[in-house]
């Protein structure tokens, strides 16, 4: 039997997915008496609540009760790092849509009726709606963070060339397909079970217990699966879970909430918008000698994960480049919009876009290909292998990855062809770019780098495994199954991964930072090894034979092909199922709890120094785009992806992560555009007005490859994390847009921010001097082509 690890087995729930019977929260049958839950949010972005009146609502047929902050039995204010986020607004409102009144009703229709008659009166105050306003009022969340090396000011001043500018990257809506949802089932004596669409069951458990004023041991949180999350359910699944918990607490009835799409988009956080004030100094060959960058993120109304997101930005502002003198600072801005939050990449994309913008700008300034600039700055041998925060970048594959991709993508030939095309095409302009990624794997908050697992082996030789990892489509369940199956040498079908529950795995970390397989897979493996050790001791006695001179020796026991045997007497073997039954009869413990803590990672955020990452996932992308000179509409002509993810546990799953992440990144840099009105109301609040990539937006030519690499043996089965890194490969598409703008004019190029929507591109084109090829020239070119 071949090993499971390394095989492209289907997603754990693939059959359920295609049959429509893999249940999401709202697909669960309703209990008798179960209540529907909805809420009324703040009508304004900033102000004081003076009156809340729901008396008309509770007189409506079907409306059971309404709740406000007064009904919260425990704590109303929570937070992951800083306690500054109210569950229900009490006196002050901080953003439009902030929950104020929770409605419990017999039907969805009754909730709609109730919403119409609930009166909320507020006195508005002037909201802060932009990074600039926040800076102006010095209204920040948390302290300023800084990472520095050398003397960038002096280095920039002494450099042959200098550039500086402002760079903005926009926010991004997660647009997970299953909206925020939760169901609560009241238990006995005040206990409660919450089913939540969450990446972080432990946090839901903790927050619900704090809100209700009960112990954590009285709350269970279960997550079977999410219909997508992407970071949007790392912290922000909490409010809906608290809503249903509050309703169940007071009514003793099961309660269910499913946000509608507008509500979800309008009242939950997104990827942080960033504004960066940057300056670089560089030499004529493109080498950067100094970088200074002040990053400001739009944090929204509460801290949430913003400080950690900013920390990752500062740690990734180098991307693939060794810059001798660096000073990067980060400040999270308070604004009156829903608190921005985790989103695949977690601050990495904004920082990488920032530095890649600099790479393109430097190339423009020097009139050389940006690829040359990038290559001249790649991390290399010592001393150019130390990051600005002091971690040694070992196992650096960047140069090899760049070499390989430059060749396979035909970069140089296409570069020449595009230059020619842009000279002659009246309608279109093309751009080409190659960017890399070096994404650090581990939570930068040290204590989160742990995982535990529960493995139960049954007497028929089947196995249940439970970990803190939640399944949101990324395939962590099937990967864990593969690892566990191999540990016992049994087929994949004999292993099932159970719904994530705080009852089985306590104090778990969120499924985030791309590290859930690394942590939980390793913990599961650890549990299996414990069981196997006990089994091996038992088996060694079972297989020992006096006449043959074979003494009991656990080291000779092998678990393979669904059988257990002593290597010295392979003919006397027993199937795994009967073996487990025998072991139980001999009172061998067939269950274990495993644990894993990532070794050697730490980071001091006060000094900005440390080695926060276990390893780096690396890769590179070549993207080619075509832009309509008259409408600004663009299309992605060709993309080549190359990524080093070590020994893949499941290549098909990882390929899905790679492509899916890239396309999501492509959406962020092109057409995903958040639009608010002057009062802070989100206008792009549905898929009608917020456009994620459709199938027709796929690159016409799309080549995807893994870079062969076996050097990451410190990680589970030699694999590397793949969840977030591909998103940042999408930055190549934006860089190609910038390259295209550069062929129109320097001004067009320097004016380009992110996202590059059709409107933005057309405006940039308008800034430039059309490199007009006269009619005669164009016809002449055509003629020449015919002649040659």
């Amino acid at each position: 039997m071949t090993q499971s690890v390394g095989q492209s087995v289907p997603h754990d729930a693939a059959i359920g997915h295609v049959q429509g019977n893999a249940y999401y929260l709202d697909d669960l049958p309703k209990l008798q008496g179960e209540l529907h839950v909805g809420f009324v949010g703040s009508p304004i972005a900033s102000g004081k609540i003076v009156r809340v009146d729901y008396s008309k609502a509770i007189s409506l047929t079907g409306v059971v009760r309404c709740f406000t902050v007064k009904d919260v039995p425990g704590h109303n204010v929570f937070g992951i790092v800083v306690f500054d986020e109210p569950f229900l607004a009490s006196e002050e409102v901080l953003y439009i849509g902030q929950p104020i009144v929770v409605i419990a009703a017999e039907s969805v229709e009754a909730i709609e009726q109730a919403k119409k008659v609930i009166e909320v009166e507020c006195i508005p105050t002037q909201p802060i709606l932009s990074i600039e306003e926040s800076i102006q009022h010095q209204k920040f969340l948390g302290p300023k963070r800084r990472i520095a090396r050398g003397d960038p000011a002096e280095a920039i001043a002494a450099a042959t060339h200098r550039l500086h500018g402002l760079f903005r990257s926009g926010g991004q809506e997660h647009l997970y397909l299953e909206a925020q949802a939760a169901i609560s089932y009241p238990g006995e004596q005040g206990q409660i079970t919450i089913h939540s669409s969450t990446q972080n069951p432990t946090e839901i458990q903790a927050l619900v217990s704090e809100m209700l004023g009960v112990g954590m041991h009285e709350v269970v949180c279960i997550c079977k699966r999410m219909g997508g999350a992407f970071g949007g359910k790392e912290s922000q699944a909490a409010i809906p879970a608290m809503m249903v918990a509050l309703v169940s607490f007071h009514t003793g009835r099961a309660a269910r909430v499913l946000y509608d799409r507008e509500q979800d988009m309008a009242s939950t956080g997104k990827r942080h918008e960033y504004l960066t004030d940057w300056a670089v100094g560089f030499e004529p060959d493109g080498r950067l000698v100094g970088l200074k960058a002040d990053l400001y993120s739009n944090g929204g109304a509460s801290t949430d994960l913003s400080l950690a997101v900013m920390e990752r930005s500062l740690l990734h502002s180098d991307n693939c480049y060794f810059i001798p003198n660096v000073e990067v600072t980060g400040q999270v801005c308070f604004t009156n919009i829903p608190s921005n939050t985790a989103f695949r990449g977690f601050g990495g994309p904004q920082a990488i876009a920032m530095i890649e913008n600099i790479m393109e700008s430097v190339a423009q300034e020097l009139g050389i290909d940006a690829l040359l600039v990038r290559r001249r700055n790649l991390y290399g041998e010592a001393p150019a292998d130390v990051t600005h925060y002091g971690q040694i970048f070992s196992e650096n594959k960047l140069a090899q990855v760049f070499d390989k991709l430059e060749a396979t993508s035909n970069y140089q030939l296409r570069r020449d062809a595009i230059r020619e095309f842009n000279k002659t095409s009246k309608l279109f302009v093309r751009g080409l770019a190659m960017t890399g990624i070096k994404f650090g794997i581990s939570f930068t908050t040290k204590f989160l780098n742990q995982g535990n697992a529960l493995v139960n082996v049954y007497t028929d030789g089947t196995v249940q495994v439970s970990t803190g990892a939640t399944e949101m489509g990324q395939g962590v369940n099937v990967k864990i199954r593969q690892v566990v199956a191999d540990e016992f040498g049994i087929p994949l079908s004999r292993v099932v991964v159970m719904a994530t529950s705080t009852e089985k795995n306590n104090n778990t970390s969120p499924t985030a930072a791309s590290a859930s397989m690394d942590l939980n897979g390793a913990a599961a493996r650890n549990a299996c090894q414990q069981i196997r050790e006990r089994m091996a001791v038992f088996a060694s006695h079972r297989f020992a034979s006096g006449p043959e001179g074979i003494v009991a020796s656990p080291t000779h026991i092998v678990f393979e092909n669904g059988e257990v045997l002593d290597r010295r007497r392979p003919q006397d073997r027993v199937a795994f199922g009967p073996f487990c039954a025998e072991a139980r009869r001999e009172r061998i413990d067939l269950g274990a709890r495993g644990f894993f803590a990532t070794p050697g990672v730490d980071f001091n955020r006060e000094t900005g120094k440390g080695s926060p990452f276990f390893y780096y996932t690396q890769g590179a992308t070549v993207a080619e785009v075509e832009i309509d000179r008259f409408t600004g509409q663009s299309r992605v002509v060709r993309v080549d992806l190359l990524i080093d993810i070590g020994d893949s546990i499941n290549p098909a799953i990882d390929r899905g992560q790679l492509i899916g992440g890239f396309i999501q990144g492509m959406g962020w840099v092109t057409n995903e555009c958040l639009v608010y009105d002057a009062k802070g109301k989100l206008l792009s609040n549905s898929p009608t007005t917020y456009k994620i990539p459709a199938i027709t937006d796929l690159p016409e030519v799309f080549n995807v490859e893994f870079f062969p690499n076996h050097d990451n043996q410190q990680n589970i089965r030699g694999s590397k994390a793949v969840g977030e890194p591909p998103l940042m490969m999408g930055v190549a598409v934006w860089a190609a847009m910038k390259d295209a703008m550069g062929s129109i004019s320097k001004l067009s190029s320097s004016a380009l921010n992110l996202p590059a929507t059709g409107e933005v591109l057309l405006e940039c084109i308008g800034l430039g001097f059309h490199e007009k090829v006269s009619l005669e020239d164009a016809s002449k070119t055509q003629l020449e082509e015919v002649v040659t």
Binding site: H11, G16, H17, G20, G473, N671, C673, E759, L762
Partner: protein
């Protein structure tokens, strides 16, 4: 007159009455039948998670093109030798914005209703198996919708080319996979072995039940006594035009619904639940298509297509393919397949949004609208139809029945433009239709503008004809500077606003630029692709 809705769901017959008739299809499936494989994401027909197949008989059904010869009403003989001459046609639709009252005579197939050859155990169809084999699902929430879209495409295809897959799945959003694996699943060679609906369900039994009512009008009345919270509601689904017009003269305030691709969204999003509904998707007369050279009402209309107002966009594409190919290809950008299977040309015109994709071409080609009421008919040029933002000249009791669309002359160059944030499945920021005819001046050797018609949308409360621009262009030499100047003039004729889809400035720039683009596009061979 029938007082219930006769519909099949996954091969099972239902007679729908009462409040259920006004429910959306997806709510009915999920809440009444607990068929929860149909997922809800956007509730506005934008994501396709709720895609199901709706099968209807040709001739009687919404959006199925009925090629009716003017002289004889003989329906074609269907392949299965059905004596009624009606055959089944299954199309994907977004069930979140379909109402139950629209489904008289239909067979709805959901993800739970897909059948494989294997009737035991975990029976997976080939499309489903291909999704598993190619890792086409990640979180899985969009998957049933994709599978159903593909099942719909299977009805008329044995094999899908890459562009067909992309076009056919443009109404299904996936946030996880990046679509490549889905595309691979759709290209799997097993696709041709997927059973079509004709082989999955026994239609004879359905025919027997449904045919008996095919010419019956259906009226659903919801008495006000049922509940305090539900007011009196009325939905009338006539089979022919005359009762429709009679109903409309009795209830001129009725909301007229054909495909519900707008009203369904209002129902889900803005709490719009009309009390009196005239549903015209069964009215045979409104689904007719007359090709040029066919007599229509005794009048020769050699150069016009006559399109029934309830023809859906997929049928309009078919109808226009031969005569106005630009419109056919332009319409691939209209909504999504699911929307094109229900949305009608009449709905687009009467709703009258200034960003309605179909309007600029109708304006540029000087389409005429035929309005009927119990008191008689009249024709109105579309250029005189609108009186203000979403306001028109229709009078109480009038119904739009047909659109007469003059086909462009051979020498006329017609280009249609739609600018939106995302190319497919997006609402326009700006639309334009430019039709121009050039004359070669043998003396000067120049080309001059012999005739020109320009219509612009998304640039004000109404779609407009750019009359000043047209006047400027007429007779001029057709060259870059003239095109540029025309754009500048057009920019003064428009009154765009800033909204979520684009700024006033952007729309004005597009207005200005589109003439240059048109010029270059029509003066050079720009199809030359750059390939390495």
């Amino acid at each position: 007159m029938k007082q219930d809705i006769s519909v099949y769901i996954n091969g099972k017959h239902y007679l729908i009455t009462g409040a259920d008739s006004f429910s959306t299809l997806s709510d009915f499936l999920r809440n009444r039948l607990r068929l929860v494989g149909t997922k809800i994401m956007c509730s506005e027909g934008d994501c396709g998670a709720c895609t199901v197949l709706v099968g209807r008989r040709r001739d009687s059904c919404l959006g199925v093109l009925a090629h009716i010869d003017t002289n004889s009403h003989n329906a074609e003989t269907s392949p299965d030798g059905n004596t009624t001459g009606l055959s089944w046609e299954y199309r994907s639709v977004d069930s979140c914005i379909q109402f139950m009252f629209q489904l008289e005579g239909a067979h709805v197939v959901t993800i739970e209703g897909l059948k494989s050859d294997d009737s035991f155990g975990q029976s997976l169809t080939h499309i489903q198996q291909a999704f598993i084999d190619h890792q086409g699902s990640q979180c899985g929430y969009c998957t049933p919708g994709f599978v159903m879209s593909l099942a719909g495409m299977r009805e008329s295809n044995d094999k899908l080319e890459s562009h067909e897959i992309r076009e056919g799945l443009s109404g299904n959003l996936c946030r996880c996979t990046g679509y490549v694996a889905i595309e691979e699943a759709a290209s799997d060679e097993s696709f041709s072995r997927q059973k079509v609906m004709a082989d999955s369900y026994c239609h004879d039994a359905m025919n027997a039940i449904l045919d008996s009512r095919i010419n019956d009008d259906v009226l659903i009345e919801l008495p006000e006594t049922t509940s305090e919270n539900i007011a009196e509601r009325l939905a009338f689904m006539p089979a022919s035009l005359e009762p429709a017009l009679t109903f409309l003269s009795m209830y001129p305030q009725a909301t007229v619904i054909a495909g519900a691709s707008d009203v369904g969204v209002w129902h889900c999003k803005s709490g719009f639940h009309p009390k009196i509904i005239l549903c015209i998707n069964r009215v045979t007369e409104l689904q007719t298509f007359y090709a040029p050279n066919k007599a229509f009402d005794g009048i020769e209309r050699e150069s016009s297509l006559v399109l029934g107002a309830s023809l859906n966009w997929e049928s309009i594409r078919e109808a226009c393919r031969e005569w106005i190919p630009q419109f056919d290809s332009f319409l691939t950008l209209f909504g999504s397949p699911q929307i094109r299977h229900v949305g009608t040309i009449g709905g687009n015109i009467v709703n009258g949004s200034p960003i309605a994709d179909s309007l600029p071409i109708l304006f540029a080609l000087d389409a005429r609208l035929r309005l009927a009421s119990a008191n008689g008919d009249r024709r109105v040029p579309i250029n005189e139809f609108y009186t203000g933002y979403k306001k028109n000249v229709m009078q109480s009791g009038e119904l739009l029945t047909h659109v007469e669309l003059p086909i462009p002359k051979d020498a006329e160059i017609l280009k249609l433009y739609k600018i939106s944030r995302r190319r497919d499945m997006d609402i326009s920021t700006f639309t334009a239709a430019i039709a121009i005819q050039l004359k070669h001046d043998s003396v000067s050797g120049f080309k001059t503008v012999d005739s020109v018609r320009v219509a612009l949308g998304g640039v004000g409360p109404l779609v407009i004809r750019a009359s000043k621009t047209e006047a400027f262009l007429l007779g001029r030499e057709w060259c870059e500077s003239v095109a540029t100047e025309a754009g500048a003039i057009a920019a003064t004729e428009v009154a765009p606003i800033t909204d979520v889809r684009g700024s006033e400035k952007y729309r004005r720039t597009l207005t200005k630029n589109i003439f240059q683009r048109f010029f270059f596009e029509t003066s050079f061979d720009c199809s030359k692709a750059l390939q390495i």
